[in-house]
Symmetry: C3
Subunit: 260 residues, 3 copies
């Protein structure tokens, strides 16, 4: 089934930054093969080689794109080794990525996948250090021209996934969650869902206790907790940077108790 | 009157940065509703929640775009409060923004405006912290499909504006202007227009006096003054950073006298 | 001969950064004249006024774009002086740039060039500090509409070029190359080509000796040398920043000897 529309969208998520020629080279390769694509940057500012951060950012962006969008992900510390690279079709979208866990959150149901092993679609010679330009970009462009998945390589039935953090209940009945992302504003995003937060919550962060949920950022005068745009518990400081103020990092614990 | 062309342009001006998924989510939402739009970034590097800087950057960019361009602005410290959000038509362009002053410079004559109150055009559920994705982006996309302004909400007749700095004459007849922007090069842009500068000017900046206007950046050997690309008096250092060298900030005074 | 396709691509390479309105103003000017162009950023994060870095980044990106692509380059410390600005056609691509050396690597064979001297294609009034917006962008847009080169100005037969570094053989038979670029990852790219590296090489960098070429980044445990994506010798640190660890800068020597 062809689920793409007439003006195919290809997104890019990399750790390449924007001061080097790498991102532009990929875009040129795509446009040379299919000049009709719309290329959209998700981010090129992923921390170098941070697979976990990539998986998070991709997950919070891909779902808003039109059906049939092709998402290229190049955060690939294993480039050139025998790690395989994939084309995956899942949830009416396509993903082209190294098989290293960056798709952990996006592939959450049935999927079709192939390992990219068929050289005719690649740019020759293939650099051993830049598969983004020589393999991922041309494969994405050919995919946008309706080349079937099976042309790119052999079927794959299981994907590498990262361990997913999950909140758990401590021995005293408190809910222990984790910081999963810190955004540009210093807002601290956790893995605790809206439905996990009890009524009358007391949220413990480092040595502070937040005694209620605020409805939005502008509320409150200092440290606040609220449900963010991805339906998760978030810690913020009005007009400030919560992560810096509290010295919080990805992986840190956030504890929620019910007030007596 | 339909003033849009066949390939509608939507611009984005935010303080979201480019390492988080926020900007991409907005682009996805737009393309899902109208795949034919061209999305152009004005800037995502506005200092967090800096309404004044937003108003300046938007003003110096929007006027160069084709008639009918739709400019989305999401610098919105009051998101989720009862601040209203607007669709404004002015000077053959459209602006979708919180009503917090970011349009101070761009709406400078007659305008039509509505408060965005009509939920059918929004993404549901609407996050209280991310109206950019759930309200502004889908409204912009529907506007690009020729939905009339009146469909989005109730008419509004006055807009929030920021106090505009203006140069004034001091008691000794000198002209006192202000720093209104500092750019990436450290060039210091003032609110003093070309026509305000007297013949034979002496420009006083901190403890320095600049004795003439240079025609362009490459002229002179040290601290120079010139008329910049927006027709305002600018202070620069050849191959250097004037703002850092002189420790200048937005709001600082610049004094111009006529040489005897 | 018309070598452009129906959806012309215009790329931008500048030192403007992305927090000021300058890049967006150029894009608006282009779209106003030719709404059908696809505008692609090569980079706006060139170090301010760094002509050498511009020449390098442009060279590693332009060749991947479709035939007929128009590349605008605005790293232009001499803007407003009598330096001339050019439209160059070379190798089935077009370049619009100041004649200051930024095209050193891309124009490497026969070319046609004109000096941009014909005002009817410019935005009036022309700012003496922002030719990118008032001259380069409108000229590019008109070029994308098939205006012939000769309309923009008078023919030019020689271009300003930067001195090119080249590896040379030292008195002891060792090959002495130079650092020509440091990328976001801290990978150190040299001017030594794959074919210049002898069998059984010993690569001397500061006080370290690297005893072999690695096939890709993930190999090795510390400091490595490999052939990068532009077929040049590169120094890297696995999961680290080689340039910082070794305190290397552009221009530094890298010495390659043959092991006995």
């Amino acid at each position: 089934m062809n689920i793409r529309n007439s003006s195919p969208v290809i997104t890019l998520t990399t750790d390449f930054g924007t001061s080097d020629p790498y991102v532009a080279a990929m875009k040129g390769v795509i446009l040379k093969i299919n000049p009709e694509t719309k290329i959209i940057d998700i981010s090129h500012d992923i921390s170098p080689q941070n697979i976990y951060e990539t998986a998070y950012v991709l997950d919070k962006a891909w779902r808003y794109f039109p059906d049939g969008t092709i998402h290229i992900v190049v955060v690939d510390p294993g480039v050139g080794t025998d790690r395989n690279a994939l084309v995956v079709k899942a949830a009416n979208a396509f993903f082209i990525a190294p098989n290293n866990g960056v798709l952990t959150y996006v592939v959450d149901g049935p999927f079709e996948a192939v390992s990219i092993t068929n050289p005719p679609f690649w740019n020759q010679p293939v650099s051993s250090t830049f598969h983004g330009r020589d393999i991922f970009a041309p494969v994405a462009a050919h995919l946008s021209l309706d080349t079937p998945l099976s042309e790119f390589g052999e079927p794959v039935t299981s994907l590498v996934t990262l361990p997913k953090t999950k909140p758990y209940f401590g021995s005293d009945g408190s809910l222990v969650g984790h910081v999963i992302h810190i955004d540009r504003f210093g807002n601290v995003i956790t893995d605790i869902s809206r439905d996990d937060v009890p009524r009358n919550p007391a949220i413990h962060v480092k040595n502070y206790v937040i005694e209620e949920l605020s409805p939005f950022y502008a509320e409150g005068d200092e440290l606040i907790a609220l449900i963010g745009s991805d339906e998760k518990l978030e810690i913020a400081v009005k007009n400030g940077n919560a992560a810096e103020s509290l010295n919080l990092s990805v992986g840190d614990d956030i504890v929620v108790r019910r007030k007596p």
